[in-house]
């Protein structure tokens, strides 16, 4: 696939090779999902996305809805980019917010509202967005329709601003007792990290949906190494 520059402004993902699959990056201002099974590398990818924004001088926000800060620090310590990430955080170009369960009820009104009002933010990551469903369902006593309406309002809020949003999604399809509220229809694009284990693990990234983009139709191999997620060699233009 030849990479032609499109007229849509794009944000580099910070992951080697993925930008090539989507004509240079994610369309600016959109809301995108990254899905995959546990261990596929979604959180690592999302940290790289945040870092890339900060490198370009954009204020980038990383919100973790299920893990304490110490877990995020442990993840950063595993990768070569961790030190740079922490330096940029000290400079205020990266903001990390970790929430515990008791504070979930405040997410929609307090946190997302605050984020929406901060005009300096260029990138936002919510990891994982599935936790947000639980917050809407349990704390606000909403039925499925109500949660879906809540999600749509949040999306509208995100889209109205200038930042590009990446949401990590735990399941690709409805089932196993979890509902995904058709999130894949609501986002502007979807990156799917997946792996096949036939004795040896083979990892691939697929891009089943990306609005305003002639994305690569084929899955491309990737690895998780000291530099984080990287699309492997052998992918040709």
């Amino acid at each position: 696939m030849s990479v032609k520059l499109s007229k849509v402004k794009r944000e580099s993902t910070g992951v080697v090779g993925i930008d090539k699959m989507i004509q240079g990056g994610l369309p600016k201002g959109g809301v995108f999902g990254i899905s995959g099974p546990p261990g596929a590398g979604k959180s690592i990818f999302s940290l790289q996305f945040v870092l890339e924004g900060a490198r370009k001088g954009d204020k980038s926000v990383y919100i973790n809805l299920e893990e304490p800060r110490s877990n995020v620090d442990n993840m950063l310590a595993e990768f070569g980019f961790g030190e740079e990430f922490l330096k940029l955080e000290k400079k205020g170009l990266i903001v990390v917010k970790c929430f515990d369960y008791e504070k979930y009820s405040k997410i929609s009104e307090d946190l997302f509202k605050q984020v929406g009002e901060d005009e300096k933010i260029g990138r936002l990551v919510v990891d994982s967005f599935n936790c947000f469903f639980a917050s809407g369902y349990e704390f606000e006593g909403k039925n499925e329709f109500g949660v879906r309406k809540m999600i749509t309002e949040v999306f509208r809020n995100f889209r109205g601003k200038s930042f590009t949003t990446l949401l990590t999604l735990e399941r690709e399809e409805k089932g196993f007792g979890e509902a995904n509220y058709n999130i894949h229809y609501l986002v502007d694009g979807l990156l799917n990290l997946d792996y096949l284990d036939l004795g040896v693990i083979e990892r691939r990234v697929f891009i089943p949906k990306m609005r305003w983009t002639a994305q690569s139709k084929e899955g491309v191999g990737y690895e998780i190494g000291v530099d984080g997620v990287a699309v492997g060699e052998g992918w040709e233009e």
């Binding site: 997946d194 036939l198 697929f206």
Partner: protein
Amino acid sequence: MGVWNIRDYTLNKLIFPRILVIDKPGVIINSASAFYGLKQSRKRIAYFFEDDFVALDAATVDLIGKEKTSELNYKIGKHFVSRHLKPSGKEVPSFLRQSFVKKACESFQSAGVSILGNVSFEGKNSFVASGKDNVISRKTGDPSLFSGVVGGLLSHFYGFNIEADVLDSETIISNFDGVERFTPILDEKDFLSGGLGSLKEQNSFERYLSFKDLIKFGEVEYREGKHHFAGSLIVPMEVSIPEVYVKYYRDEGLLDLMRDALVKSSFDRSKVLFESGNVSEKLKKVRNILSGLGWGKLFIDKKGKDLVCNVFAVPVIFGDYSFQAFVLNGYLNYIFGKNHEIASLRMSADFSSAEIVYRVRKVDP
């Protein structure tokens, strides 16, 4: 696509639509309408290696001769149709019969039965089917199994007993006059009365593959009308078809022959499938191949020197997992480098799970 006439539209959209409804680890279910009755039926399917049937055919010919093998295959093929189609009890109007036969042939063709790809009626009572590169018979040279299918199809739709013949390795013919009323083999079990009791997820920390995972990663390819996996042709079948095979082989006193042929065939295939990796990786691969091809979810344990295999969401209707157990036997022999035999094969009361114990043979053959 063009404009369909009313008859084609009815056949394609209402009576014979085929939709994949469930594709999850170990289980593949598609949905099709029963002919004419407009009644939706769900069929559980699984994919089987063509080479296993070829090997079985070769071993049978060696023992009982070509003619008797052809007769056996014909009977099995005719019985297939009773499993593939679900009679609604309504008589097919005469003006629709030929169309129904052709549509049913198309559904077999989509499974790689290309000998039913080119079918025609010559006058009212003469039928010809031909095609190259037909599954199984392209290697055995004998399409008797599929002449049985043709006999079964014609009998079902016409309502009287019709036989078909092999003209050559790529052609099947039938000339028929209605005399004897045809009674389909109505097995008392519905398509999905068994094998689904444990469709709910079994607890596992490890991920099992589904058929769509294999397609997504390009491990299963579809080319020239057939599915391929690891260089071998795989054939989708309604899950009770191997049970039909086992039934007929058992009735003929040929079950040991079946076992030996399938164990050897899968052992030989293991040289490609499990070429690399340690034992643990190979076991992971075998259980993911089985779950990806719709054979249920396999859990393997070692108890002393025995291998205890528990399979959940077992793809059986009549409670006979022997065919698959023989194939698995060959894989395990290769992986462990020892000849095992089935010490016991137990099904749960609702046929939803099976336990197979493989034991090292005391004396090598």
